[in-house]
């Protein structure tokens, strides 16, 4: 009787283990699938540019290549709308950002600084125009980018404020701003130094017509801002950045992108 009664029990146990194994395999595979992290990207050459591949895409590719837990995908936004887009969950994180750029009171956390860059002024080269030209901005018309936060303007990005207080005119094109300075339509333009380096390298003729300030308006301390409640955390990202930095992959990326500062 025992044997008769034990045999069905053993079969039942084996069948249950088989099912558990199937479920375990299925559940295990879903647990290992990468979670998509949407990363906001707005026109911010050389990191994001409408005219060509940006550093951001390379940076996200680097992140994706060095881990399987998350899948980082760019989502287009604009400088003005990036705050609402993030708060409304259209993206989870945004790279090459700084808390000082209007994020202070928003539900975001920042990673450690993983890159430094700077904003410099350019003026039309000419007789008598030297670095002293950049000592004061008073009375000089300045071209900037709509939605950007500049240090000389106390990081106030309101176009009306910029225009009324700093004789500044904001546009949506960095290259246009540089060319307008050469054309004499404005005294100064303020641009990202890494962008300017790449841009002038591609157009040496234009470079000779410009005088680039040694004065920086602000030093970028690029971080990754993560929306609170997003699948990924700043700690996890910091760990990844540390690993990449330690492996020299970040410097390699900056070098490859032509924005290395060291």
């Amino acid at each position: 009787m025992t044997g008769r009664s034990t045999r069905p029990t053993a079969l039942s146990t084996a069948w249950s283990l088989f099912l558990l194994m199937i479920v375990g395999i299925t559940g295990g595979s879903s647990a290992f699938a990468a979670t998509t992290i949407k990363v906001g990207a707005y026109e911010f050459p050389p990191y994001v540019s409408d005219t060509g591949p940006g550093v951001t895409q390379s940076f996200l590719d680097l992140l994706n290549a060095n881990q399987d837990e998350f899948r980082f995908e760019p989502v287009a936004t604009s400088p003005q709308r990036r705050y609402e887009d993030l708060e409304q969950g259209r993206f989870d994180a945004i790279a090459f950002e700084s808390l000082a750029w209007g994020w202070e009171k928003r539900p975001v956390d920042a990673t450690r600084v993983f890159l430094r860059d700077a904003e410099v002024f350019v003026a039309k080269a000419g007789p008598g125009v030297d670095q002293s030209f950049f000592n004061t901005l008073d009375g000089k018309t300045i071209l900037g980018r709509l939605g950007y936060h500049y240090a000389f303007a106390d990081f106030n990005a309101d176009p009306k404020y910029l225009e009324s207080q700093h004789r500044m005119r904001v546009t949506v094109t960095h290259e246009g701003n540089v060319r307008n300075v050469v054309a004499g339509r404005a005294a100064l333009a303020i641009v990202t130094r890494s962008f300017l380096n790449r841009f002038l390298k591609s157009d040496p003729e234009l470079a000779r017509k410009l005088l680039v300030s040694e004065r920086t308006d602000q030093i970028y301390e690029h971080t990754i801002l993560v929306r609170r409640g997003a699948p990924v955390s700043t700690a996890w990202l910091n760990g990844l950045l540390d690993r990449l930095d330690a492996a020299g992959k970040l410097d390699a990326l900056w070098n490859d992108s032509g924005i290395a500062t060291r």
């Binding site: 409408d50 287009a76 604009s78 003005q80 709308r81 409304q88 709509l146 939605g147």
Partner: protein
């Protein structure tokens, strides 16, 4: 008094040109209004479609242009763009740009022309267009929405602008057509009509020789030919009539002359039965006779015959006047003389009765009339005075003619019997009975016998009868005047009273005064 016929005016009730022009004007205006209304509907529909296409195109291009600024949330750029658009396109009343995820518009602008929120929706055209942004990876994302409100008032203005030249050309064409038509109508129709009217007026004045040139072959030419033929016919007929009238007039004049010769001769005959004036001088101290036939010959006559002891004076008024009356006077005179001869002058009443019977017998007026000829009823009034100076007596009998006796006391009227003589009576029992009136003669008496032609003559301002009272008034002062003067005064009074009026009847007045023995 000649009365002027009213002249027919050449223009009566407006000219033909004015009426044709008015009719053409009214018809053209009516047709023009219908055409303009139809054109307005068609053009209005076309302009509405044009506006719709334009609005769609503007919305599409602006949506494309706004995609970048909307994506950038560049409110200033968006506002500048739609402000510029609003300024450039006067038909736009309002523009609003919405960001895809925001209910409030990113920017909006409204025309100052639309003080009301957006005016009547029926007069507006609302265009909505999504704003798409093409990303770098080729995807198209809807980043916003553009709303443009167009005013359709432009449609009406554009329709009016389009119709204005049409209406202008229509009016010019109308004026030109009326002008050309007026000139043509005047040359082709009105001028010949005026010429025809002038000729018709000339014909009305008796100028039948007027003609119009009729070289044309159209209706006016036919009318001119017809008018000329009518004028010829009228002229021929008029000449014929004038000739006939002249012939008839000459014939009538000849006849009239013959008749008048006959009547004048009859007047001589009639005059022969009247006593010559000097025949009365023997027995009468004075006498005067007013004898006025209405025509050449008279229906009145008077008689004065010497008798053995005096004379007879009679005055008669026969039926009718002129020739018929003269015939009656001849008959009655013969009858009277015959009766005086037969019965003597002593009984004038008997003489009247005899004349009555004789006339009725002679004229077959006894009993009831049986033939048409017998239906004529003729007779006479007759007064007879038998004057016997030696006896200072006058016997008077009369059928309807009174005897007026004028003395110093006044005018006395002695009426005769009220029966006339000779008229038809149905039986002898109805024969008239006349009475004699004896009047003693004394000095200062004047006697007058007058037929009713005198008192019945009308005249004066109101055309009333001369009347017995007026005759009495004329005679009452005659006592001391010669009878010739009395006659002259009476004639003058009568002429003044008639004042050019025609004489109605024969007038006879016989006045006499008797010479009494001393």
């Amino acid at each position: 008094m000649k009365r002027h016929k009213p002249r027919a005016p050449i223009w009566r009730g407006g000219s033909l040109l004015a009426r044709v022009s008015a009719t053409m004007l009214a018809a053209t205006i009516a047709i023009g209004l219908v055409a303009v209304a139809l054109s307005a509907r068609i053009v209005g529909g076309q302009r509405h479609q044009d506006l719709l296409r334009r609005a769609e195109l503007v919305a599409a291009t602006q949506a494309d242009a706004l995609s970048g600024p909307v994506w950038e949330l560049d409110e200033r750029a968006v506002q500048g763009t739609i402000n510029a658009l609003l300024e450039r396109d006067a038909a736009i009343r309002a523009i609003a740009v919405f960001e895809a995820n925001r209910p409030a518009p990113l920017a909006r602008a409204a025309s100052s022309a639309s003080s009301a929120p957006l005016g009547d929706p029926a007069d507006q055209l609302r265009i909505e267009r999504p704003i798409h942004l093409n990303s770098r990876d080729g995807r198209t994302e809807t980043v916003g929405r553009l709303e443009i409100v167009y005013s359709t008032a432009e449609v009406w203005r554009a329709t009016l602008d389009a119709l204005f030249p049409v209406v202008g050309l229509l009016l010019l064409s109308l004026l030109a057509a009326i002008g050309v038509l007026g000139l043509t109508l005047n040359r082709i129709i009105l001028r010949p009509l005026r010429r025809l009217t002038q000729l018709a007026r000339a014909m009305a004045r008796g100028d039948y020789g007027a003609r119009i040139d009729s070289a044309r072959g159209d209706e006016i030419g036919v009318l001119a030919d017809s008018f000329n033929r009518m004028a010829e016919t009228v002229q021929e007929h008029t000449q014929t009539l004038e000739t006939r009238v002249q012939e008839r007039t000459e014939a009538l004049a000849a006849t009239n002359r013959a008749i008048m010769d006959s009547i004048n001769y009859a007047q001589l005959i009639q005059s022969s039965i009247l006593p010559p004036p000097d025949s009365l001088d023997a027995g009468l101290s004075e006498h005067a006779i007013l004898w006025r036939p209405r025509d050449v010959v008279s229906g009145d006559f008077y008689l004065c015959r010497q008798t053995a002891n005096g004379f007879v004076i009679a005055v008669a008024d026969c039926t009718g006047h002129g020739v018929p009356g003269a015939f009656m006077t001849m008959t009655a005179s013969a009858m009277l003389n015959n009766a005086i001869d037969q019965f003597g002058p002593e009984d004038p009443a008997a003489i009247l009765a005899a004349v009555d019977a004789k006339v009725r017998t002679t004229l077959n007026q006894d009993g009831e009339a049986r033939t048409l000829a017998q239906r004529f009823d003729n007779g006479l009034d007759l007064a007879i005075c038998h004057v016997i100076p030696n006896e200072s007596r006058l016997t008077f009998a009369s059928a309807r003619i009174p005897l007026l006796i004028v003395t110093a006391e006044g005018v006395a009227e002695l009426r005769g019997d009220r029966e006339s003589l000779g008229y038809r009576r149905l039986s002898d029992t109805q024969s008239a009975r006349f009475s004699n009136h004896n009047i003693p003669l004394r000095s200062g008496q004047s006697f007058f016998l007058a037929t009713d032609g005198l008192t019945d003559q009308n005249g004066g301002d109101l055309g009333r009868r001369f009347g017995k009272q007026r005759l009495r008034d004329e005679l009452i002062h005659s006592q001391d005047k010669p009878l010739d003067l009395v006659k002259a005064m009476l004639e003058h009074t009568l002429d003044s009273f008639q004042n050019g009026r025609g004489q109605r009847d024969d007038i006879t007045l016989f006045g006499f005064r008797v010479r009494l023995p001393d």
